[in-house]
Symmetry: C2
Subunit: 436 residues, 2 copies
Amino acid sequence: MRKYKGHTKLVVKPGSTEEVSKVLKYCNDNMLAAVPQGGNSGLVGGSVPVFDEIVINMSRMNKIRDFDEVSGTLVVDAGCILEVADHFLAEKNYIFPLDLGAKGSCQIGGNVATNAGGLRLLRYGSLHGNVLGIEAVLPDGTVMDDLSRLRKNNTGYDIKQLFIGGEGTIGIITGVSIQCPQRSKAGNVAFFGLENFEKVQQAFRAAKGQLSEILSAFELMDGQSQDLVHRVTDKKRPLEGQHPFYCLIETSGSNPDHDSEKLESFLENVMGEEIVSDGVLAQDETQIQSLWSWREGIPECLGHWGGVYKYDLSIPLPELYKLVDDTRERLTSAGLIGDDEKHPVVGVVGYGHMGDSNLHLNVATRRFDKEVENKLEPFVYEWIAKRNGSISAEHGLGLAKKAFIEYSRSKTMIRLMKQIKELYDPNGIMNPYKYI
Amino acid sequence: MRKYKGHTKLVVKPGSTEEVSKVLKYCNDNMLAAVPQGGNSGLVGGSVPVFDEIVINMSRMNKIRDFDEVSGTLVVDAGCILEVADHFLAEKNYIFPLDLGAKGSCQIGGNVATNAGGLRLLRYGSLHGNVLGIEAVLPDGTVMDDLSRLRKNNTGYDIKQLFIGGEGTIGIITGVSIQCPQRSKAGNVAFFGLENFEKVQQAFRAAKGQLSEILSAFELMDGQSQDLVHRVTDKKRPLEGQHPFYCLIETSGSNPDHDSEKLESFLENVMGEEIVSDGVLAQDETQIQSLWSWREGIPECLGHWGGVYKYDLSIPLPELYKLVDDTRERLTSAGLIGDDEKHPVVGVVGYGHMGDSNLHLNVATRRFDKEVENKLEPFVYEWIAKRNGSISAEHGLGLAKKAFIEYSRSKTMIRLMKQIKELYDPNGIMNPYKYI
């Protein structure tokens, strides 16, 4: 995002949990600040040494420790890259229950530390449910071995949950055990154009009702996001003509014939009822990848002009897209959007995980501009607070949203969180001045 | 279980979160112990005032607060009975993501406080993943309003998770918001007899592979559990002849024809490969209920002779049933099992949630007998510790297992848990001398 710049004199690359423990104990004893770093794919500055923190880079701890083919329980080092784990699982007919655009570089420890949501939360649920155990090192060097492989274990407070989404502020995750579902034999992807957001909601309700247990993703992209992807990549669009909204629907199931039948009857329904204006169904794996690229390629394409203001928000579904309209109107009336170099903003787009009520509001800019930022913040956060939404759905707080947490959390909750931070990290050495 | 007896001079029945707050603040200011009580269906003495605690009974807080038909998010008072919520959801074509035998009396607040697992965890996952928000009152009367309705919300430590499975030791849950899945249009139940536990495991692997996304329960019952149910109820058995093991398989899906086809091909496979010895498929809702009664009726039937020693355990699948054999052998060789009054033990049975590696080891007795107890404990816990299992899979610790937690948790974990208890309840008024 070109927003945060790191300053550090020291990067350590521990090769074992014991080494992490020694490093942290030394930091704690000598009051040295440390920042854990995974694949460095975060968007909120959480893993950047913004002051002079020692970077604890986890990339050497990248082994798959164990996999049980009957139960589907995978145990990995925190530094294992998500895609590496998923390829390993593919060979065993299992799938990692999390998938996101950065899979080729992000690490599982980082995914868990930031409670990454991604593309298939709709189907496989959140990491709070899927992670069975965590091994972590506390700031004083204590190794917390809670690497359970059991699906059910009700013996005391579920402390590992504090590390899921804890963003490396109370310890460093060194190992993770996770429940992996079986890989589906059949996968289909459909891509639709729709007239308005009301129809997108209708299509979502129809997909939930008719595709039900085989629905594995329901992604939303607005027309402007697709225009910008098209401008950057110059690829042939999946559909003739242009539409105000697009959806990508993915199904995964165990029986290809059954899945096709369900999908066809869904298509008949949404075409017949004129819920969707146009649609295409991928015929092979290449087409599946090509359709996904119109969704997954958005973040990279938006960066083409310079910087991007990114907001990752949870909003009640009926109002999900209204924020994009309101923001666009706000920047337009301030005269900040335009096609030439004089205007800082290239476009305001919305896309995201419709199935989880999770919108990514992105403002593509030619340069970072204080006037644009002042128009966006706290406007966006106030808009969210009014609707009881979340200012960080899946990206976390990091440094970017530390100052804005009160828009999503009450004073009481913030006080309780600070207690936790003080309990685990009384010297405040872990990722200081970020998070809460 | 006739194991714990309550002693209290005062039961309070608050009608609102504010009243719970006032009661707890008074208790805390005056150093009075309190025990929260839901439907009183727990098995570990967690909600029994074993000393002279003030009982805080939640039954008056029994309203459904809100339901969103698009997202499936349900918000309820903690005292709402599970079955009441599920019936409410059924009318909207949704289902509560938790089901268990005690559904007619247990309360959702109690379910969440004990992190209940139940029959469909295999399909819908754990409460740590499904609960979206919690409203709770802390021991000092602080109302923790974390009743988020958002599927994704990464803004700080997920503190509500400590209350899921916290067994009322750090506060009282007063409200819950939970993600509910759509109710399936089709439901099928099959019941099998099998020769040995190796074949049960084969059947489970086949069910996971072939029924995949429509598999919603895979329950195990041993031959002796079914013999005892038969002796008590005198009902006609589902299958001709008797078998060492039985399984109940449930499917839930959106298309009755597709589900039947999947189930038929699964049946052909397990019959053809002689994985199962005999089987029956329910033909209507009455038969579905009747087959389920052979599983759900076990706990009640076992109580017929007097008391039952109950162990709720997580064990790696290959050794899951070995514990039942080992325990039976141990009690037999001690001369404690027999058909007449002279012998304290009627039988040793095993059943449970195969899909979650969760075994219920039950010892049906004519009377509580110290000699039996001494043979069982710590034997069972040592057996579990050796296999890295859990001494409490889904029932919790309560008073029953407080002394045995070190068989499932390390000293470090217990220390971290005690820190949490001290942080939230420095006066130790909440459910004292239980849990950790």
